[in-house]
């Protein structure tokens, strides 16, 4: 009897040592910074550059952030051009072709700065946290983020498999300066 208690105690103490990044809910307003260097097409840029200290996606391995990105994707009408990831007026986001790069900071730049031929600039409309959440979601659409952190299906009509079911992927073609 005391043995089972001791065993349980040991297992529990081990668990305390483990954190769980995936399940973290970031409810405070600490803003993760934007990427280090913007991937620019030309040297002329509107507005000041957004500067940050990381290349990694702030929410890539965080389930709540990725799902908030899914919610933002619907609310900000990204589907208007990208059609739930399948593309239309804008390029598809579920495939492995990344015109401007698939790295988190590159996608951040795409969303924040906008791109030629119609991608709007969101950098003064959404704050950094929201853009990073969108980055995580967009990357999850093609299987680039850890599988356990990707969102499941949403409560709408099933137009594509949930990112959780998307196979893990490696991006292939990329015309960006760094792969």
């Amino acid at each position: 009897m005391t043995d089972s208690f001791r065993v349980t105690l040991v297992i529990t103490l081990c668990a305390l040592v483990l954190g769980c990044e995936r399940e973290e809910r970031r409810l405070n307003s600490q803003q993760p910074k934007g990427p280090q260097q913007m991937v620019t097409q030309v040297s002329l840029q509107p507005g000041p550059n957004v500067v940050a200290d990381t290349e990694e996606g702030a929410f890539d391995d965080n389930a709540q952030g990725t799902t908030e990105g899914q919610i933002l994707f619907a609310q900000m009408n990204c589907s208007g051009c990208h059609s739930n990831g399948g593309g239309g007026m804008g390029p598809p986001l579920m495939d492995d072709q990344w015109i401007y790069g698939s790295r988190p900071d590159q996608i951040f730049a795409t969303i924040a700065e906008g791109r030629p031929n119609g991608m709007p600039a969101w950098k003064y409309k959404l704050n950094n946290q929201q853009i990073w959440q969108l980055v995580a979601y967009v990357r999850s659409l093609s299987g680039l983020t850890p599988k356990s952190a990707r969102p499941g299906r949403d409560d709408h009509m099933n137009v594509k498999p949930a990112p959780m079911q998307t196979p893990n992927a490696k991006p292939k073609n990329s015309q960006s300066t760094t792969p």
């Binding site: 297992i11 529990t12 668990a15 389930a63 990725t66």
Partner: protein
Amino acid sequence: MTAPLPIDQTFDTATVARVTAELDATWRERPGFWGWLTSVDHKAIGRRYIVTAFLMFIAGGLEAAIMRTQLAVPENHLLGPDRYNQLFTTHGTTMMFLFAVPMMTAMGIYFVPLMIGARNVAFPRLNAFGYWTYLVGVVFLYVSLFANTGPDTGWFAYVPLSGPAFSPGHRVDVWAQLVTFTEISALCVAVNIIVTTFKLRAPGMSLNRMPIFVWAQLVVAFMVVFAMPAVAAGSTLMLATDRAVNMHWFNPAEGGDALLWQHIFWFFGHPEVYIIFLPAMGMVTPIIETFCRRRVIGYTALVMANVATAFFAFGLWVHHMFATPIPELGQSLFTAASMVIAVPTGVQIFCWIATIWTGRARLTVPMLFILGFFFTFVNGGITGVMLASVAFDKQVHDTFFVVAHLHYVLIGGGLMPLFGAFYYWFPKVSGRLLSERLGKWHFWLFLIGVNVTFFPMHALGLDGMPRRVYTYLAPTGWGTLNFLATLGAYTIALGVLVFIVNALRSWRAGELAGDNPWDSSGLEWATSSPAPPYNFAFPIIIDSVHPLWETNVEHPVVTGLRTDRREILVTTTTDAVPESRHAAPDPSIWPLYLAGCMALLFIGSIFSPYFVLIAIGLSVFGLLGWGLQSTKKIEPELVQLPTGAMVEGA
């Protein structure tokens, strides 16, 4: 080990000593840690269940204390919403799935074989498997809680909030699989209780001579068999697959329905509370009989009331859904059913009061808890009848009024008799008595604490305070009553602490109890305290509901069961006529192994389907081992009945 009393006078003490020594060698556990892992003794497993479930009670209580501290003042900053949501979910899940049901059924696992004069339950290895699976659930939930993966959508996990769109990550998957483990464990126990009660009773213990405690456990076991699969279908099948593999059970846009979850969950959820409550009702009768020194009035009425309650319990579930868009005509049916179920419960209460009235009550601690049960449970029962009214329920549904009601019935109707049962049967389990002095402190602190905590909550609910809120604004005026409720919660904690001190001290150094310290009538008091591994050296032949109170009657025993291998006597279902001798299994590691496979299967399924395949493969190995162990035994032998009551075998 002393021989059971009374015993046929044709046996001399030398024969009895030889038989008991041989039985002791055959039935005792293997030595050391391995013996502890492989035990199939229902008393060892029952003890483990009781201790683990009590630890879960403490854990759930600590969670409640932290929640009450957060709610003591408006806009408190002890817990943020995320932590609070995890805490109240874990509190509810722990108390309902990991404490209440396992504790109540564990009392059955420990005491039913003793009360019916059997050596063990019908399926000892299944019993062990049930415990290990339950332990897997306990460890899984609490490791997840500390790893920030604890569930946070309530113990009822309504969709769409608990669906994939609004509960990211694996928190709700932890909840869904925890339900799987507890449900498998409960089914193992239920199957065991049903078959044990029907087939292993002592000769002569026909169904109408079975103790009320055993009747209650039997009825509850049937309820488990019908209710648990519903929640398994809902959570393991539907919710888990919605979240993991893109099913649409609860997605309205694709033809699913959010209310489907509620129906399936509450079809289980309402019988669940009666699964918690009815075993406690079974504990009240023997305590009253013993301490009022008389046989209970209305044995048949009590049994019928238990059965009726169990039937009605399955027809009430929509009263949890009165605020949802269900047609009102349908809702009224459930109003009627929810009110009518008060009648069988009332019958039981009136029979008990009549028994006390015509007896001579001795206010020991168990009897005090029975009086506390009347005071507290009846209050909860009345608010329950109020809640049955659709019009009134629409005002107080999902408010603190319901929190008050549910705690009054679960604590008053479940916990009070349970504590009384602890004081009453502790001597049988440990061989020592609990301290009456500390017990009285425990009782009064507990009774006062429960009422100070939960009575103000009626007013809070009527004043507009909803449930499951991590804080409330100061201008609402809810601060004073909340503060009072928090003080009450600390009082409850103090009372439980007194009990823990009492139990720990008495286990080692309490007054020695002997076989039958209370001079009770049940068969469990006819063997030593604690009972030997084989419970009874010879199965006793019964001729009344209160065998130990019939002193002027001879109690012949059954002889001839083998002592060189584990053997039990199987009797017929209604009249308990000896039917066959059945080999009982030796200690086995396969239950633990298979529980480990279950763990791999269900926990792994959250992450990848491959775990399911691997676990099934490993399980096959375990099932083979289990099955091959059985085939080493000889087939049960049919018993030829000579004239007379004695049965002699080879």
